[in-house]
Symmetry: C2
């Protein structure tokens, strides 16, 4: 996999890590960066995440062979459409947004004939933000979900697959709606729970937290605006996932209120069984 | 601080770590171990966590200058009382149980005149169990809560304080009931939430989890029997904490269902503010 000119729209943690990984692995001839925040773009240049900056999506898209959109989920679709009007024939357009259904729907509803878009989502990240936390190994061995539809160009899908594999990831294909239902449970619900747990802790007890609380709430340090956009883009899925958690919490409540130790142990055992099956 | 003979009742992760820390820091002349599980006691001997084993609480207590009970919270009080009938005059009895109110109440209701007991809880641990995971640095810089009452012997409190400080910890004094209310929020509720999150994840989506889910659910790998005993010993506190989380989750739900982004950001911001204030 070799891309002459790779453009990154959004050069924060994810875009910055795509840049560093592409550079380290020799995937791109040159890397262009676009970001609406001038100071973030400057930090990305300083860190060597990108070779050159461009002032807007259009000017980067006009030069790029592949464009990866690593911006908040509520702006990605509009930027992709903006890029399609100027990008080169055969250019790959893909994204790294944490939700897929609304982005893919919005893009496909307005996509010009022949434009090569496929939705994507690397299951990797950090509660830390910005190109200064970018990491060339962020995608190493991690799953990247691509969400082709019946309208997806075959060449775009194979290019996006090759790109992420070249960055060290394992590609898994899913339907956009299924992706969002799964992420509601694996990512969005844990984020809400972490924020809620941290939000209800009386500050005078913060000195009484240990590793358990800190791990359980780590993701609550993520950017509120970024996460609000993600949760809203998948609101139905998140609400469904919250219902499922609610039911399970009610089972815990009943076993505790009634002193039913066997039921309580069974509930804890189910959680342990699933958790023990995950690596690290 | 120097203890001629230190007895550990329960030589799993916590008892084993007390033993390793005491040995490394020269706190104890010799360390005796008791455990109802012969294979665990053997592993503790093999690892050098204890110098010698004793067959039961009484035989260890008869020789010990200080006894630390590191057993499940539902057996600690009975073992402390058993020890008081044979222990030396002036011996320190303390424990490392994750709940304090019921243990302290049960022990104090049956404590002979002059026996030196003080409740304790090191805010350190791991989802891993057993002396093979014990760690001489487990208490380094961590908070140990001691829960003296009006009936606590002054000398026992100063001995227990000196012991934990000698093991590297910082001692904080709290009322047993206040300790349990705080732990409901800082430890027991996050455990229930982790177990519930892990328990409701469809196994076919476990390959779609990343660091966020794994951190949020790490503690769910803890021992179900141990945790059932902890949650039951603090059932009222845990149910209250669940109510508070429930209310906060309902606020998230309302903001999501109504599409109120400002409210959603405010909720996320509150969680981030608290979480960012915690180290690591």
């Amino acid at each position: 996999m070799r891309i002459d000119t790779l453009a990154l729209v959004g050069v924060g943690l994810i875009g910055g890590s795509v840049g560093l990984a592409a550079r380290k692995r020799g995937v791109a001839g040159r890397i262009l960066g676009v970001d609406s925040r001038p100071e973030v773009l400057q930090r990305a240049l300083t860190r060597g995440v990108v070779d050159q900056s461009r002032p807007n999506v259009g000017s980067a898209a006009a030069e790029a062979d592949a464009i990866v959109f690593c911006t908040p989920v509520d702006v990605i679709a509009g930027q992709v459409i903006e890029a399609t009007s100027v990008c080169r024939p055969g250019a790959l357009l893909t994204d790294a947004g944490s939700t897929k259904a609304s982005i893919v729907r919005d893009v496909e509803g307005r996509l010009p004939q022949g434009a090569g878009f496929v939705g994507g989502h690397p299951l990797a990240g950090s509660e830390k933000q910005g190109p200064e936390h970018a990491n060339a190994e962020l995608f190493e061995g991690r799953v990247v979900v691509l969400t082709p539809t019946s309208r997806t160009d075959d060449k775009a899908l194979s290019q996006a697959t090759a790109l992420w594999e070249a960055l060290g990831a394992r590609v898994r294909l899913m339907d956009p709606e299924e992706h969002d239902r799964a992420m509601a449970m694996t990512s969005h619900l844990p984020h809400v729970t972490a924020a809620a747990l941290a939000g209800v802790l009386p500050p005078e007890w913060s000195g009484l937290t240990a590793g358990g609380f800190r791990d359980a709430t780590r993701v609550a340090s993520g950017g509120p605006e970024l996460w609000a956009a993600i949760l809203q883009a998948n609101a139905d899925g998140v609400l469904d996932a919250m219902d499922q958690l609610d039911k399970r919490m009610a089972e815990f409540r009943r076993s505790l209120a009634s002193g039913d130790r066997d039921a309580l142990i069974a509930l804890l055992q189910q959680g342990k069984l699933l958790r023990d099956g995950l690596t690290c």
